[in-house]
């Protein structure tokens, strides 16, 4: 591939000017090598790409590899995707966080909200040929609650007891009512294992749509489970390929050596979207949380918090950093994707740096503020920090950006101590989870150290009432309160991305890419 071809075929350049040529030459061969990925294919290359695709063999690429495959500790997309293929969850969630039956074909809640009964599907078999029994489910949840250090121990602390019900049903008794209880059953860790299973994480005897054939460091090869209780999967084999980076995975898709790439950055998606691929972008509830400590100066002053909000242009940030993917935030974790609870009833004040400046002067900072903004050293967060710094500067808030490696940022709970920081929060299926995690007075991750009696009461109500209207009202009030005096700014919610070759059908990309199901997929 010579340089002149590169410069003439790149977006924006039609003629090879001398300056253009010199420019590419100066950028060096390394840069030129990258360009190749952006080029349209010649007919010969396209034919070669098509030849590399095989019917019935689905190849899914990831920009990373699993670290653990024990359901108790797995968390990354690559890990959950593997578990999701080999095992089954009781309940799934769809692209708009609605509950979808899986092993549990139906469910009902007692009137007091303390007992949930789930009907389990009939004729479910493990890969070793044995039948799924209620004992397996009891054993699985016993295991999930056994390690007090694990994430699930806290998640299921509210379960008083679990027992086998009539026929093939399982009954959960709760200590406190929790209207989101079924969502906790759809948690990423909660795949159903065989009772008494050993070597979990290296031997995989699941009920899932695919059986593991071979696992080597850079790939997992699985084949369809012909006896799958919900019908034989559409693809004969499923391969997970683990690349070093998302760019390599995207290159592999363009070269035809993989069929699907899930989970990528905004820019990579934008590039792939322009090709002849089936590109899906799904809004999620994950977000970057910009927060100001509210228990000491300067954040303890409501006017200061208001000034930061007034100085921020959320739409501009959304357009530049998210490239318009995902959704614009309104400073509360009740994301637009939570359709039942999201509201725009309380107006978000227009951006007004002058008013922000006046508020700061009112609060005793006539010369503005000098603050350090701590941020994990990840591309999008550093970009957000730079955008905020430019916008806030107009209101007299001078920011020194301090990018820290993730290990340093989270070390010794440093991120909870600092005054001003940006923390990325992964997508969760209910708004309540975010509120409980970082906005309650005694929440372990209450980064902003915000404790507001009214908010506390509202979160309590939203998290315990089963009355949908009362819940809606509580969430609406929470959104209003956070816009008025909250210590947080949420400029946007992330999108989840999946790009696949046009030969692939039957993939619905989910907010958590690792939970994407492939049993209906055909190649």
């Amino acid at each position: 591939m010579n340089k002149s071809q590169n410069s003439s075929q790149r977006p924006g350049g039609t003629q090879i000017s001398r300056r253009r040529f010199l420019q590419v030459g100066a950028a060096g061969l390394a840069a030129a090598a990258f360009h190749v990925t952006g080029l349209p294919l010649t007919p010969a290359q396209a034919a070669a790409v098509a030849a590399r695709r095989q019917a019935g063999n689905l190849r899914v690429a990831w920009g990373g590899a699993p670290a653990t495959l024990d359901p108790l500790y797995a968390s990354a997309d690559t890990e959950i995707a593997f578990l999701n293929a080999v095992y089954d969850y009781l309940i799934d969630t769809n692209a708009t966080y609605e509950l979808v039956p899986r092993l549990a074909s139906s469910w009902n809640m007692s009137d007091d909200g303390l007992t949930y009964t789930l009907q389990i599907a009939e004729g479910v078999k493990f890969h070793d040929g044995s039948d799924l029994t209620i004992d397996d489910i009891l054993w699985t949840f016993e295991r999930l609650r056994s390690d007090p250090e694990s994430a699930t121990a806290g998640l299921y602390a509210n379960i008083d007891s679990i027992e086998a019900g009539d026929g093939s049903s399982v009954v959960f008794h709760l200590a406190q009512p929790n209207p989101d209880f079924l969502y906790t059953l759809s948690d990423n860790h909660a795949v159903i294992l065989k009772s008494g299973a050993e070597n979990i994480g290296t031997d995989f005897n699941g009920t899932g749509p695919f059986k593991l054939d071979e696992y080597v460091p850079d790939r997992a090869t699985l084949s369809a489970n012909a006896d799958y209780w919900a019908g034989t999967p559409g693809a004969e084999t499923l391969e997970f390929l683990y690349f070093d980076s998302v760019e390599s995975a995207a290159n592999a898709l363009q070269g035809g050596t993989v069929d699907v790439v899930l989970r990528m950055d905004n820019a990579t998606f934008l590039n792939l979207q322009n090709g002849s691929y089936n590109a899906q972008s799904v809004p999620t509830s994950g977000h970057d949380l910009v927060r100001l400590r509210a228990d000491r100066e300067p954040g303890s002053d409501e006017r200061v918090r208001q000034a930061f909000k007034l100085a921020t242009d959320r739409q501009a940030i959304f357009d530049r950093i998210q490239f318009g993917f995902g959704s614009v935030g309104r400073d509360s974790p009740v994301a637009p994707v939570f359709e039942a609870y999201y509201t725009e009833e309380t107006p978000l004040p227009e951006r007004d740096p002058e008013a922000a400046k006046a508020l700061l002067a009112d609060a005793g900072y006539p010369d503005g503020l000098d603050m350090t903004l701590y941020v994990p050293n990840l591309a999008d967060r550093v970009a957000l920090a730079q955008a905020l710094a430019a916008q806030w500067a107009e209101a007299g808030i001078n920011i020194t950006i301090e990018p820290q490696e993730e290990a340093v940022y989270y070390a010794d709970n440093g991120w909870l101590e600092v005054d001003l920081a940006i923390t990325p929060w992964g997508a969760r299926p209910t708004p309540q989870l975010f509120l409980d995690l970082y906005l309650r007075c005694d929440a372990a991750w209450n980064e902003a150290h915000f404790c507001d009696d009214e908010l506390e009461q509202l979160i309590e109500t939203a998290g315990s009432t089963s009355d949908l209207d009362a819940r809606k009202q509580a969430y609406a009030d929470i959104q209003r309160l956070l816009i008025e005096r909250g210590p947080i700014i949420i400029p946007y919610f992330f999108a989840s991305f999946g790009v696949m070759a046009d030969t692939v059908s039957g993939v619905e990309v989910l907010p958590f890419p690792g939970r994407t199901n492939f049993n209906q997929t055909t190649v």
Binding site: R10, P11, G12, G13, Q23, V24, A26, A27, G28, A31, F34, H35, T37, G38, S245, V246, E247, A250, M264, D265, N266, A267, T268, F269, L270, N271, A316, D319, R320, I321, D370, N377, A379, V382, A383, A385, Q386, A387, A389, A390, Q391, A393, T400, I401, E402, P403, Q404, V408
Partner: protein, 311 residues
């Protein structure tokens, strides 16, 4: 008698040598300019030096000005080098980034050369045990890659917190410059030491010793001028390595904090998926680094040739 005439003789010698050095500098420059490549190198370095000095006057936008439309391609709407994903003018950022390269790489090299010269002259002249011990120390330091030392030091220093305005904070703010100096002191010292070892056995040094001159006088009046040619070559070479080191540290994210227009940082920020969207935002700073390094190398080639010719 020696004491009475010495001051006069010395001042005459000072004046004479000043004239001589002015004349030899002129000859030296002409020697460099004689080869077109070295002239080009010198021109490139001067070009960037002017950019560093007059950057704030030349650049139409400030470092973190995001008022323009993002992702404009080069040439459109008065953005000579286009804009990056945040809507910042790439031309302004490249121009403004020049000063930090010269400040860190240039000043760092200068400090390294000064300290390294003192150290090299001293241990070379003293010899014996001092030379043995210092020589081994220098060898030990040279065994470690410069980038590794710099990364370790900067990694530790950057996470220390000091009050704004305190002297520790000033040191931390200039840590890249100091690290460059620190990393290159042993290298310069070794070059100067080996020249010193060779020169101190010459007759004119022995003559000065017999005259009863002080060690200070001998080192700086007799030995130092003879070390200068080797030193100049070494310094220009160090400068080009320092630019590379600063750019690498910037790329790795330890040299400058965003939104600094550090060239290395700009390359890092615009690689990956962004590269296909805004190739110009990476190509121009990368090109600037390449051009400056090539320029400095051509110039130092010329310097080496001129040194050899003018003997």
């Amino acid at each position: 008698m020696i004491n009475e005439t010495a001051p006069d003789a010395r001042s005459a010698r000072w004046r004479g040598s000043a004239l001589r050095s002015a004349r030899s500098t002129g000859r030296f420059l002409r020697e460099i300019l004689r080869s077109p490549q070295s002239a080009l190198g010198l021109l490139i370095v001067l070009f960037f030096l002017l950019m560093a000095v007059f950057g704030p006057v030349i650049a139409p936008y400030s470092t973190n000005d995001q008022s323009s439309a993002p992702r404009l391609s080069p040439g459109t709407d008065g953005h000579l080098f286009g804009t990056d994903y945040l809507g910042r003018d790439v031309f302004s950022r490249v121009v403004l980034g020049a000063s930090s390269i010269f400040r860190t790489a240039g000043l760092g090299t200068l400090i390294a050369v000064i300290l390294g010269t003192f150290t090299g002259l001293f241990i070379g002249y003293r010899g014996g045990v001092v030379d043995e011990i210092a020589g081994r120390l220098i060898d030990a330091l040279l065994a470690l890659p410069a980038l590794l030392i710099a990364l370790v030091i900067l990694g530790v220093v950057r996470n220390l917190e000091f009050e704004r305005g305190s002297w520790q904070a000033v040191l931390v703010d200039n840590s890249v410059l100091l690290v460059i100096a620190l990393v290159y002191v042993p290298i310069v010292a070794r070059v100067v030491r080996s020249s010193t070892l060779e020169i101190k056995s010459r007759e004119f040094v022995e003559a000065a010793q017999i005259r009863g001159e002080s060690s200070f006088y001998i080192i700086f009046r007799e030995i130092f001028p003879s070390v200068v040619p080797a030193l100049v070559v070494e310094a220009s070479l160090r400068f080009s390595y320092a630019i590379f080191l600063v750019a690498s540290l910037g790329f790795l994210g330890v040299a400058a904090r965003p939104p600094s227009p550090d060239w290395g940082l700009m390359v890092n920020e615009n690689r990956g998926g962004l590269f296909q969207l805004t190739p110009w935002a990476l190509e121009y700073p990368a090109g600037a680094i390449a051009l400056l390094v090539v320029g400095v190398n051509l110039m130092s080639d010329g310097i080496r040739r001129a040194v050899q010719r003018s003997g």
